[in-house]
C-alpha cells in the first residue's frame, strides 16, 4: 500500500496521541453505518507553565493513556481518536485557543480546563460556539455561586469547595476537641472559599470552634518561614490548608524544621495533588490529607487503576496524582456518550445528541464509577484520610482511607445556596 504524505502525517498525529500506527485497514473494516472514517478530533487544553503545570501534565497523561487504549481497541465506533493539544494559560489566551480548536481544528469535543478563571471564560464560549466542552478541574463558579445554571454544551468539574467540606468532616471525626483553628490558603477565590466552607461545616460539629489566624499568601510563594512564625504565635489546635501545589511540600518542610506539627494537628484538604513529594522525613503521621478524586494506593483499587498506576510509574518514574482521573474520565465519558447517542441516532451523533446522552451517564473511570449529573456537574468519590509512614514508598500515604462521595459532600444542585445546604445537612445523621 502506498502511503501518501497526507496520510502519513495523519498517522504521525495519531501516533503522537500514543496509538499503534500501521493498521488503517482494521479501522475502515470496523467502520459502521453513518460513521465517518476520519479520526475523531479531541481538543485537549492542559496547563503547561507555572504552578499548575504538573497538574496539567497529569491530566494530559490520563488522556493520552486513554487514547492509546481506545485506539488499540479500534477507536470510538471504529473511528480513531486524534488528540489536538492547545495550552491553557490565562483566560483571554485560552479562550482564543479554544475558539481555534472549535472553528479551525473543528474538534468534536474539547476537554481540559483546570483554573476556574479559565472555566468562567470557556463555559459561555462553549455555549456560544455550540462546542462540547468537558472540564477537568475548572468550574463555572464565581465564588461558591454558579454562573451557568442551565448549560447545554458545557460540562464542569465538582464544586470548588468539596474537598474543604470533606476535610471538615474528617476533622470533626478524627480530631475531636479541636477548639482553635488557623488557616493558610492561597489568596484567590479557591483559597478563600475553601477556608470559609471548612469553617462553616466544622462549626456544625463544634459550634464553639474559633479561628485565631487567617493567612492568605499568594500562589507561588516559596518561603513560609514568616507565616509559620505567625502560626506558632497564634498557637491554634489545628492548621487547615487547601494548598495543592509545590507550596504544600515547602510548607510541610519548613514546618518540620521548627517542629510545628509536634503540638498541632493539621488538615491538608488538597495536598494529595503533590502526594509523592510529601516525603516521610518531613511529613508527619496523623495529619488529614486529601487526594481529591483518585487515590493511587487505594486498597479497593480496580484492575484498571492498578494497571494505570503500574504503567504510569514505569513510564514517568512517579505515582499518578488525581488529575489523571479527571482527564481520563472526561474522554471516557465522551466515548460512552457517543456510543449511547449512536444507538438512537443510528449515525454519528451531533454534539447536541452527545450532550444529552452525557447527562446522568456513568462510566468506569480510573478511580471507580464516575458520572455526569443531569445539570452537567462531575460526580465522583473523594479520597481523604490520615497520613501514615507504613508503606513501601519514601512518601506518606493515608490509612484509614475515607471515601466521600459527592452525593454526600457536594450540594445537590448548582442552584442550592451553599450555606443553607450546609446548615440543613450537617451534622450528618448515622
Amino acid at each position: 500500500m502506498e502511503t501518501s504524505r497526507r496520510e502519513f502525517l495523519k498517522g504521525v498525529g495519531v501516533a503522537a496521541a500514543g496509538s499503534a500506527v500501521g493498521f488503517p485497514a482494521v479501522v475502515s473494516a470496523q467502520a459502521r453505518k453513518g460513521v465517518p472514517s476520519d479520526p475523531v478530533k479531541i481538543g485537549v487544553i492542559p496547563i503547561r507553565a507555572g504552578v499548575a503545570a504538573p497538574v496539567g501534565a497529569a491530566g494530559q497523561r490520563g488522556v493520552e493513556w486513554w487514547a492509546e487504549r481506545v485506539n488499540k481497541a479500534g477507536g470510538i465506533l471504529g473511528r480513531k481518536v486524534e488528540l489536538v493539544f492547545e495550552e491553557e494559560s490565562n483566560p483571554k489566551d485560552t479562550l482564543e485557543r479554544f475558539r481555534k480548536l472549535a472553528l479551525q481544528t473543528k474538534a468534536d469535543v474539547i476537554v481540559g480546563g483546570i483554573s476556574t478563571a479559565v472555566g468562567l471564560a470557556l463555559g459561555p464560549a462553549a455555549e456560544e460556539l455550540k462546542m462540547l466542552w468537558l472540564s477537568w478541574d475548572g468550574t463555572t463558579q464565581k465564588g461558591v455561586e454558579e454562573t451557568m445554571p442551565k448549560p447545554t454544551y458545557a460540562f464542569r468539574s465538582v464544586d470548588n469547595e468539596v474537598e474543604a467540606i470533606g476535610g471538615a468532616l474528617l476533622t470533626a471525626k478524627y480530631f475531636k476537641g479541636v477548639k482553635t483553628i488557623a488557616g493558610i490558603n492561597n489568596d484567590y477565590s479557591y483559597g478563600h472559599d475553601c477556608w470559609e466552607t471548612y469553617q462553616a461545616v466544622l462549626k456544625r460539629y463544634t459550634p464553639d470552634v474559633k479561628s485565631v489566624l487567617e493567612l492568605f499568601p499568594k500562589l507561588g510563594v516559596t518561603d513560609f518561614t514568616s507565616h509559620i512564625a505567625a502560626i506558632q504565635q497564634a498557637k491554634p489546635d489545628l492548621l487547615m490548608t487547601s494548598f495543592w501545589s509545590g507550596d504544600t511540600t515547602i510548607l510541610l518542610k519548613q514546618a518540620a524544621a521548627v517542629g510545628l506539627f509536634k503540638t498541632m494537628k493539621a488538615c491538608f484538604t488538597t495536598g494529595g495533588g503533590v502526594h509523592d513529594s510529601l516525603k516521610k522525613e518531613f511529613t508527619p503521621e496523623g495529619l488529614i490529607l486529601g487526594y481529591n478524586s483518585m487515590y493511587f494506593n487505594y486498597a479497593g483499587a480496580s484492575p484498571l487503576l492498578k494497571q494505570f498506576v503500574r504503567e504510569y510509574k514505569a513510564k514517568y518514574g512517579e505515582y499518578p496524582p488525581y488529575e489523571c482521573d479527571h482527564g481520563y474520565f472526561t474522554v471516557e465519558s465522551y466515548k460512552a456518550g457517543v456510543e449511547k447517542a449512536y444507538k438512537t441516532a443510528g449515525e454519528w451523533p451531533s454534539k447536541e445528541q452527545v450532550a444529552k446522552a452525557l447527562e446522568g451517564i456513568e462510566v468506569e473511570s480510573l478511580s471507580g464509577k464516575r458520572s455526569w449529573r443531569a445539570d452537567h456537574v462531575q460526580m465522583c468519590n473523594f479520597f481523604q484520610g490520615i497520613t501514615t509512614h507504613k508503606n513501601a514508598f519514601d512518601f506518606v500515604t493515608i490509612d484509614p482511607v475515607e471515601v466521600l462521595p459527592t452525593t454526600r459532600i457536594m450540594k445537590p444542585t448548582t442552584g442550592t445556596k451553599l450555606l443553607d445546604w450546609i446548615n440543613a445537612t450537617f451534622p450528618l445523621k448515622g
Binding site: A49, G50, T222, S226, H227, A229, T249, K253, A256
Partner: protein, 299 residues
C-alpha cells in the same frame, strides 16, 4: 516579657532575617550591575531560579555518588557559584551589543532573558517542583530563647552576611574594587586612564549573576525549585532596591532587612498587609527620600 513571647519574637525575626538574607543576594546582584553598567537586569530573578535548579541537581549528584549528606552544602554552594559563569556568556554574547542603545532596549533584552531562561528551566528540569527532599533537616535545630531555629537557616544568614562583608572588602580594599568604583563614577575617565571596560563589564556582570545563582542555590534546601520562582522574588528585589537606593550595596543590605522584617512582622500582626506594607515603605521612601536610603543624587 514571658518566655513564649520571647520565642515568638525570635521566630518572627528569624523568619524576616532569613527572607532578607536571600533577598539581599539577589538585590546585590542587581545593584552591582546597575551601579557599574547602568543596566537594570530584570533577569536577576531568573539567575536565582537557575542557581536553585542547578543546586538541586548538584546535590542529587553528590548524594547519589555516595557523598555524606552532612556535606551537601559544599556541592550546593560550589554549583551556585559556578553556574554564575552564564553571566559571561550573557554579557559578552548579548548585553555587550546594547550598551550604546536606549535603556528600553536593555530592559527588553533582559526581559527576553527572563522568558527564555524560564523555558530553558522547563525544558531541562520539567515543570514539577524540584527539591533536595529532606536534606534541609540534616543540620538539626537549636533552641534560641525558647524558639526552635533550623541551623540551616542560620547558615544561610551567615553566608549572606559573609558575602556582604566580602563585597564590601572587594569594593573598598582591592584594586578591582577601585576600578569598579571608578567605572561606576565616570566610565569615560576610567577608560581614558587605561581601564579595559569590556573586561570590567564582563567581570561585574558575572559577579552580579553569581550572587543571584548562589542565592538560589543556598535557599533551595529550605524550599523547592519552581520555574517561576524568580518572578516572585524580583518584585521584592525591586522594592529592596528602591528602598536602599539604586546602585548601592549598603542600600541592598539595609533594604533587604527592611523588606524581610516588615514582611515578617506584618504576617504575624496583620497578615492582610503582607505585601501592602512593603509598598507603603516604598512609597514613603519615594516621597521623603526619592533616591533611596543610600542612593546617590542622580547624575
Amino acid at each position: 516579657m514571658g518566655p513564649s513571647m520571647a520565642a515568638n519574637l525570635v521566630n518572627i525575626l528569624m523568619g524576616g532575617v532569613f527572607h532578607a538574607a536571600i533577598l539581599f543576594l539577589v538585590a546585590a546582584g542587581l545593584q552591582v550591575v546597575f551601579g557599574v553598567q547602568r543596566i537594570f537586569n530584570l533577569a536577576c530573578g531568573s539567575f536565582y531560579a537557575l542557581g536553585a535548579y542547578v543546586g538541586v541537581s548538584a546535590v542529587q549528584a553528590f548524594t547519589g555518588a555516595g557523598g555524606p549528606p552532612a556535606l551537601f552544602i559544599l556541592p550546593l554552594a560550589l554549583a551556585g557559584l559556578l553556574v554564575g559563569v552564564v553571566g559571561v556568556v550573557v554579557e559578552r554574547g548579548l548585553l555587550s551589543f546594547v550598551y550604546d542603545r536606549d535603556e528600553t532596549f536593555q530592559l527588553l533584552l533582559t526581559f527576553a532573558l527572563v522568558l527564555m531562561l524560564e523555558d530553558v528551566i522547563r525544558l531541562t528540569w520539567g515543570t514539577a517542583p524540584y527539591s533536595t527532599s529532606a536534606l534541609y533537616l540534616t543540620y538539626g535545630q537549636i533552641n534560641l530563647l525558647g524558639a526552635t531555629v533550623p541551623v540551616y537557616n542560620l547558615i544561610v544568614i551567615g553566608a549572606s552576611l559573609a558575602i556582604a562583608l566580602g563585597i564590601g572588602w572587594l569594593l573598598t580594599r582591592t584594586v578591582f574594587g577601585r576600578i569598579i568604583r571608578a567605572a561606576a563614577d565616570n566610565r569615560e575617565m576610567a577608560e581614558a586612564l587605561g581601564v579595559d571596560m569590556r573586561w570590567v563589564y564582563a567581570k561585574v556582570f558575572t559577579l552580579g549573576t553569581a550572587l543571584g545563582t548562589l542565592g538560589g542555590a543556598l535557599v533551595i534546601p529550605a524550599t523547592a525549585a519552581m520555574s517561576e520562582m524568580g518572578i516572585e522574588l524580583i518584585v521584592e528585589a525591586f522594592a529592596v532596591v528602591v528602598i536602599g537606593g539604586l546602585g548601592s550595596m549598603r542600600g541592598a543590605f539595609v533594604g533587604a532587612l527592611v523588606v524581610g522584617i516588615f514582611r515578617a512582622v506584618a504576617i504575624a500582626v496583620y497578615p492582610e498587609l503582607e505585601m501592602l506594607i512593603i509598598y507603603l515603605v516604598v512609597i514613603a521612601v519615594l516621597v521623603l527620600r526619592p533616591r533611596g536610603l543610600f542612593g546617590r543624587v542622580a547624575v
